[in-house]
């Protein structure tokens, strides 16, 4: 027997989490769903783009006045940006399906007591579970990113832009996963966890629509704009990696980690 450190204990927990995650059909269903939905969105926009092109070409052949395709009708603006937009919204719906069980299932089965009576500290438990969920989310993002990547490469957008977009998409997914994990940590019901994650995700998605109505309460408007995910995510989609936006998504994950950690402490206090 050898004394080992925190990393090895976390490693043992991560192995267990991976075995539970990939031992159930849910992980494969979610991966399939992400790839399918990303593909559907992509091909739907591509079809629309082709129709527009066809219409313009038909018009030109038919002798109409429009003999050029407008600048905004290109792969980048007509396919890529809308795909990314819809993909973000899709993630809000899909990611909680994976995060809902992570803590809530342990509570409902009573295995959380087994976990906390081992030598794993609450920090190690939360870290291990976050790490495995993040790992899964990155795999899902890599799988779903095939179509946007095709659109970018075919649309003449460079590798740097591609990396920026992937960074944005992954950060958004990780932030959503963190929110989902917090919801899971504070309840023993997976249903409550998933619905709460959807609600928070959609509430945080975009408040920019309300700012024109809040001219007399600028600070509120600024705050709502500041907590919105969509404007920050869009910046990445445009190929701009902004430090403030990076900090926002990392901040969401850190706050979520602290809240999930406090759920474990709260259980010791409240029972």
């Amino acid at each position: 027997m050898t004394r080992i450190g925190s990393f090895t204990r976390i490693g043992a927990l991560m192995k267990k989490e991976l075995a539970v995650l990939f031992g159930s059909p849910l992980a494969y269903l979610v991966l399939t769903l992400v790839v399918l939905v990303a593909g559907l969105i992509f091909f739907d926009h591509l079809r629309a783009y082709n129709q527009i092109l066809f219409l313009f070409q038909s018009s030109t052949m038919g002798g109409f006045e429009t003999d050029t395709i407008p600048d905004h009708v290109n792969l980048r603006d007509t396919v890529f940006f809308p795909v990314m937009e819809n993909l973000g919204l899709t993630l809000i719906a899909v990611i909680p399906m994976i995060t809902m069980r992570v803590f809530a299932e342990e509570r409902s089965r009573g295995t959380d007591e087994l976990l906390v009576t081992t030598r794993l500290s609450p920090n190690e438990i939360v870290l291990g579970k976050f790490a495995v969920t993040y790992f899964f989310v990155v795999i899902a993002m890599l799988a779903s990113f095939v179509y946007p990547a095709m659109a970018i490469l075919q649309g003449g957008v460079g590798l740097q832009h591609l990396l920026a977009v992937f960074t944005g998409l992954t950060l958004l997914a990780l932030a959503l996963a963190s929110i989902g994990l917090v919801c899971s940590a504070w309840t023993s019901s997976q249903l409550i966890a998933v619905v709460a994650s959807w609600a928070i995700g959609y509430v945080l998605w975009d408040w920019s629509w309300i700012t024109p109505f809040l001219r007399e309460a600028e600070s509120v408007a600024r705050f709502l704009d500041g907590i919105s995910m969509h404007p920050r995510y869009s910046t990445f989609a445009e190929g701009i990696v902004n430090l403030a936006n990076l900090a926002y998504f990392v901040g969401v994950s850190i706050v979520a980690y602290a809240l999930a950690r406090s759920a474990l402490d709260w259980k010791r206090i409240a029972g």
Binding site: T2, K16, G110, T111, E113, R119, K267
Partner: protein, 298 residues
Amino acid sequence: MHRARLSRCLSKACRARNERATADVTEGGRGPEVDQREQERTDGAQKLTSEGQAEASRAPETGVRVEARGLSRHFGSHVALEGLDLQIEKGQAFGLLGANGAGKTTFIRLVTGVLLPSSGELTVDGHSPATEPAEVRQRLGYVAETSRIYPDLRVRSFLRFAGGARDLVGSGLEAAVERVIERFHLEEVAGRWIGQLSKGFQQRVSLAQAFLHDPPLLIVDEPTSGLDPLQQKEVRDVLRALRGNHTLILCTHDLSEARELTERAAILHKGRLVTEGPTQEVLGGNDPLALFRGEAAA
């Protein structure tokens, strides 16, 4: 035959713990001396059969001391435990009895550090589960009320995880896993999903995970609940064989189980201690069930 196997395994486990304690002080990693010690341990264990029990009873008292003073736990206005004073000595098999809702599980959760006390003091080997949970958990093996284990893991994977989470690693982990598989007769189901096992096997897996690090304090909550008579006998045989080598806290409402397995017992009623003493005395009265109803011993 069955008893002999158990005795052999117990002797092995006792020696392992004593040697491990020495090894922890003298060296940080695994060296040739450790392998040699393990070899000696294996050789020694093979020689021991029925004499293992006798040796265990001669061995100096092991286990840990658990002490509660004025221990209370409230959930809002509900009083789960009130002013509990209790001493459980090293190596003692202690029965915690009472009807449902008496506060047995709350006490266990306080000892394991799953819950924090509302007031009072609780120490395990001088360490508080509330403020030094890591120290307490190092000494603790916990078998929860129902088999609270992962149905979607295979037995061996689960035991590897449980060992890893208790600081076992590499060949030490593998050896510990094989040891408990043999000890609890899990060989035939080691590769199967836990969810597919019978309740009896699940309970054995649950016991096995608690023994991986051979803890001096074992807390078992309703170990035979829901098991058939044969399975109950098996589990009781395992627990009986532990007496003297571990501090055992057995939480049960089965009086015959308490008589059979424990030396001392306490009866709780609505969070308060009704009586405490040698098990035969506590349960020897005309109507021990009256104690379950909270009627104090005469």
